[in-house]
Subunit: 784 residues, 2 copies
């Protein structure tokens, strides 16, 4: 079902497919970005007093001392706000066909916006305090007195899911937030397998930790509240505000300034967004809250935190006979996208392999840790880690290399498209629509030739060098839809907007490329505006590697429609029949009549549409289109890593890294490459360094950058990227999503490389990979 | 050509024609309006160093001392700004037919945005200074050192227009800013007249002086500049900014917050707006300038300042035989709307009378006084004063009352519609389209019965009481066009916007009434948003009594189109043919099939249009329409005033006032009445108190409210208003403009009443009416 090369190349235009320089960089790289905090001047400062304990009944919240302090404008608890005090839960409920096929269940979440009776995690907002400035506000916070009756915290998914566990949410009978069960191929007697390996694999709790934390600014104009927030999902934030406040959609505008990284932690509707919107209307004042780093590390949504119990059965050749993965997800006190993460994990558990029989079971648990969101990959890296680690385990036992066992299982060009006996979350049966997954692995391996790996060992005598691979398949471009709007302005320039909100993904460049090609104009004519509910009334947002696919396609549709409508108008201006008119290089010309005779430009069409023009009655050319994909498109990728383990300290250094991926048309290859490289960097962080740790009492331990370790440029090698352009017919651009690709297989590939470096003397079963574990293995080796 | 009563009443709907309470008042009356200064928090303060002399060469502008002061962010002269340093001039050039018929000429204006070589009036902005706050900025202004070589100021229009006068603008050969000549009916030998009266009538320089002064806020987002300004004409401000900076339209957004009065002084594109927009981009900072009162009184555009030399010839019955008016307008250093004021004055010089022959000549002169704009009435009150005073003079000489001479000249129901042998500025031949002008006068007189006037004299023994009348005709609803936009939002609510910008005219209420009727919904469903170039790309603005007529009609057209489109969609949802579907009370029902069976509401149509709905592919219902009237519609009015002149001081007090006017359909009678009453108040100010005086050296003398006297509530009596609903076919609403009506005949009626009070011992030929002049007459009377 993949398009032919001719089709694919027809999708590449003067701009689409070219590495056009990121237009936003002129601004962003010169310090002229306008992030949320840059809008804050003049607004009163809001700070949140947050729960100091992980699980407790609230006895009293005494704000009286704070209220009277000089410079304090107001102090509000949840009781003061009159909000529908149940935080919204899952926004996208899976299709019934999926629910039926997977026995999918999810609990109703009711995490209070600002609770008054009970707290569920350290960092939960309890009191909003408004003051003339941040200093005053921070001082006054200290005067808010909250007393608690502590309850035993639950900090472990397994414990939370035990039948006798006390539910931490009182409206629920247990702590199960969601569950899923996928089974196909029938029960497989072990006798058909030559080898069965079992394992327990754990991906630790880490998260996005973007350069810019969260932040919200709200202003009131008449009764209308404008909210600027550093979010990936402005339309959903608007919905969340409306649901909690009872306001009509029209009463709220949500707009997004420049955003310094989202990665899923900003694809959430936060209590802070709702509270600040509500308080802005209540006080009539401009209010701003800018998260500080400690606040971010304690209260912004985190990710991962999964445990997979696996059982992989293979035949004597290493070919998969049966695959079982029973996983749990610790979603902390709650998560807007819990269903997404559980379903994502399960559906990605099959990998890009010929898996004839499988049994995948997943459960998400509520615990008294910080809330979670769909952090980059959102279940994909976790599922990948479990399956890839199991394959490596089997390979070792069969005496095969990691590459070899994958070669024997990966789907090839002949296998594809490859149907799977289950529906995707949208209810459409899953079909892996790629080109040649095995070929993709070979491409990754070629990027890191053996002689280069050997040279790396020679160059680093203090390190033990090893290499490993990991493969993944990523469902991208998930629905239900996205909107795109293209306006011909009166000057003949174009304005493009959509429901997708850039958090660094270069929408200003990529979407302009799409529109410029469809409109056949110079890129300079097209301006992309950042997401704003006033620009497009409907939208979903940027997450799940979906913006290029969905918003890109919606913009393409809208631009095509503008071109079609404009051609008819141009024909009228030319006095020619529509079918005779063609648009090239921004000029509409008729091929009837004198060749070389004048055409009309977009400027002329624009002038005609303006008041006083020939098409005044037809009005402006301003088209909003919805793109609704039939289902997702599957992006294949293979990662290859070379690591060095320090012989004395056990510290792991990634020396070389390669990614080959079957993207579709790349609107802007430079942008895609940047996303892949960034994803690898973030993957390295999660694999080797980053972890949100909690004390046995439930106190967060990773509250500064001294404790929560982020990779720096020194920790990330040059990443080689090879793009295998496998077009998809699933959207008019032929694009596949790639936003998460770089992250998914890092833990798997690095873990394999570490094991290889240590001569398989250690089994890496969890992240972050512990130098202590490796030191033990190294000592054994030195002793041996 | 007036509509029948039946037609007129068909135009009145559930809301249109009703005194719906002003929706904006909940906000504005409770202190929750958001005026420009309310948006200022957080922005750096801009102040302008202004010319201290009326006419001079600039030798040096030394900003070096200011630049170094703590808290000063930047100091900019015109030389620093790189603007196309010629202030834009007239935006609406009259139609060639008008130009030909009236020998209309206007000079090219090139008033510099911030001059570096030469100043033309005291208050002209020369240096923009940015500082961290207003206090710092004001202090630093003192450190800017400007040296001048003074030139002789020209402060008198007659002197300026003398052939040997030195042109104050170097690119021009004389000081004539515009001129006009209208003549029809042929030369009339004086022999055909029984009486000829000559006079010189002067309306002093006064102006809008709104409660809120000017103010501009600019913010930069990427390279796009958003400008909030207290203006009546956001689209023209955008154009002015683009012309001066060379930016594309798309690079600038101009939005209007709540505005505390405009009255024409804010229907101007100001240098301050351009400079602040340019500096915002240059500095990347939020910048705000809020005019202070002294600044306003010195540098905001002023108005009036006309002298009319008249010659009225009447027959023995007092019927007009010939009317000649030769007027000059002192437009100060320049005026965006100079052509408008000169043409307006000339075309309104004919009044609502049977004038068989006329010769109207006007010239506008550049002088070294403050710039001018089309202050409420914009030539109409001045023309009215000259003609009405001449009629009163003739009446006295013929022994007729003021009412009687008007009865003999006013057009009656039989005369109307009444063509005039000249084109209007839009090139369309003038036809007075009213109902019965003589009847309108009687209606005004009835509002102030003789016995009541006598009672007023009895009640005020310290005053000498008199009464007078004045009539006027006002061209309203002038083109070229206005835009209206109506959006059906996803909740089934409507959002309405237009190019008209409310400065207090209750657009939020009146436009919602228009839309609600067309859409057949409850008013609560419709929200009107204040003008913003991001909401409608094109627009003209609010001035010249045009918004109800043009924007109201454009909104009506757009709402009608939304209703038509929605009916087709509803028919599809109902499975009924379109012709069978009717919309009533917000529900579309088919009259085919089961009576009483369900209908679909606007909510259903909205849901269907939203993503996921049945009409997703059709997209949102969002219609922008342009209304372009064929020509203006003429509103007749008659004013009657009762005044008391204090026997000792000569101070004039207006004791009673009545206005009868031939409005068309009044969208909201309460709003129209409010406008008429406000207009009378402003007229009383200009007639009795307000004056921008200049010293012989050209220094402004009216720079505080101790010098520039405004009427208070004590100075304005209850105003009785009678509305004679004379519908017009010129627009779909049947409305006539009324925004200026209240102002036009005040000076004429009050002057007549003052003369009457003093037994015609004084002739009032100029405003403000001088108590000193009256004291002289009173003393003569007491001596007699």
């Amino acid at each position: 079902m993949t398009s032919t090369d001719a089709e694919a190349s027809s999708r590449v235009g003067p701009y689409v497919g070219r590495p056009v320089a990121r237009r936003e960089d002129e601004r962003l790289m010169s310090g002229r970005g306008r992030y949320l905090a840059d809008l804050a001047a003049g607004a009163l400062s809001v700070v949140f007093v947050r729960s100091a304990v992980p699980h407790a009944l609230i006895n009293t919240i005494d704000t009286s001392a704070a209220v009277g302090m000089p410079g304090v404008v107001g102090v509000y608890t949840g009781a003061d706000l009159g909000l529908v005090n149940d935080h919204i839960a899952e926004l996208h409920v899976p299709h019934p066909a999926f629910v039926d096929a997977t026995a999918f269940r999810m609990a109703e979440q009711r995490l209070a916006i600002m609770p008054t009776d009970r707290v569920h995690y350290v960092g939960q907002p309890l009191v909003a305090l408004i003051a003339v400035d941040r200093y005053t506000a921070e001082d006054a916070m200290e005067a808010v007195d909250i007393t608690y009756s502590p309850l035993a915290p639950c900090l472990d998914a397994d414990a939370a899911l035990r039948e006798d566990a006390t539910p931490i949410h009182r409206h629920l009978r247990d702590n199960e937030a969601a569950s899923i069960h996928i089974e196909f191929g029938g029960l497989t007697p072990d006798v058909t397998a030559d080898l069965t390996v079992e394992g327990t694999y754990r991906i630790g709790r880490h998260g996005a930790v973007p350069l810019e934390g969260r932040g919200v600014l709200a202003r009131v104009d008449a009764r209308r509240v404008s909210v600027w927030t550093s979010t990936q999902i402005p339309h959903m934030v608007r919905r969340g505000i409306c649901e909690a406040t009872g306001w009509a959609t029209e009463e709220v505008r949500v707009a997004v300034p420049d955003v310094g990284g989202g990665f899923g932690t900003k694809a959430n509707v936060y209590a802070e967004e709702i509270v600040i919107a509500a308080l802005a209307r209540r006080t009539g004042r401009d209010l701003v809250w800018v998260e500080d780093r400690q606040e971010h590390l304690v209260s912004a949504a985190q990710g991962r935190d999964q445990t997979h119990r696996t059982r992989l059965a293979v035949d004597g050749e290493g070919q998969i006979v049966h695959w079982a993965d029973d996983f749990t997800v610790d979603i902390g006190a709650g998560g807007l996208w819990v269903a997404g993460v559980v379903a994502n994990t399960a559906i990605h558990a099959l990998g890009p392999y010929r898996v004839p029989r499988a049994r995948i079971t997943g459960r998400a648990a509520f615990t008294n840790k910080t809330i979670t969101a769909q952090y980059r990959g959102a279940g994909r890296p976790e599922a990948c880690f479990a399956l890839e680690r199991s394959l490596d385990d089997a390979a070792r036992r069969l005496g095969l290399s990691g590459a070899e066992i994958r070669r024997r299982n990966l789907l090839t060009a002949e296998d594809l498209p490859y149907p799977r006996p289950l529906p995707y979350r949208d209810g459409v049966d899953v079909v892996f629509d790629g080109g040649d997954y095995a070929g993709c692995l070979e491409a990754a391996l070629e990027l890191l030739p053996v002689e280069e790996i050997e040279a790396l060992q020679d160059d680093h005598p203090d390190l033990q060098v090893g290499h490993g691979v990991g493969c993944y398949l990523e469902a991208t471009g998930r629905g239900p839809y996205e909107t795109g709007r293209v306006r011909l302005m009166s000057t003949g320039q174009f304005e493009v907007s959509s429901g997708a909100a850039s958090a660094g993904q270069a929408h200003e460049t990529a979407f302009a490329q799409v529109a410029a090609d469809a409109l056949r104009v110079d890129l300079a004519r097209v301006r992309v505006r950042q997401a704003d509910t006033d620009l497009v009334e409907h939208g979903i947002g940027t997450f799940a590697s979906r913006s290029a696919v969905l918003a890109g396609s919606a913009i393409r549709k809208a631009a095509d429609e503008v071109r079609t409508l404009a051609t008819a108008r141009a024909a009228e201006l030319l006095g020619a029949p529509v079918h005779a008119v063609e648009l090239n290089d921004g000029i509409f010309r008729s091929h009837i009549g004198e060749p070389g005779s004048g055409g009309v430009g977009w400027d002329d069409v624009a002038r005609a549409a303006a008041p006083g023009g020939a098409h005044e009655e037809l009005g402006p050319l301003d088209v909003t289109e919805v793109f609704r994909p039939q289902t997702v498109t599957w992006t294949m990728g293979a990662h290859a890593a070379v690591v060095g383990v320090h012989r004395r300290t056990g510290a792991v250094r990634v020396l070389a890294y390669a990614v080959a991926h079957e993207g579709g048309v790349e609107i802007n290859p430079q942008v895609v490459e940047g996303q892949v490289i960034g994803g690898v960097a973030q993957g390295i962080g999660g694999t080797l360094m980053e972890e949100f740790r909690y004390s046995p009492q439930g106190q967060p331990q990773s509250t500064t950058f001294a404790d929560y370790l982020l990779p720096s440029t020194c920790d990330v090698p040059e990443v080689r990227v090879r793009h295998l352009g496998v077009d998809t017919p699933g959207n008019p651009l032929g694009v596949r999503g790639a936003g998460e690709s770089g992250t998914i297989a890092v833990a798997a590939a690095v873990a394999a490389a570490v094991e290889h470096a240590l001569g398989d003397r250690v089994q890496v079963t969890e992240t972050p990979i512990s130098p202590a574990l490796l030191r033990t293995a190294l000592r054994q080796e030195q002793r041996a």
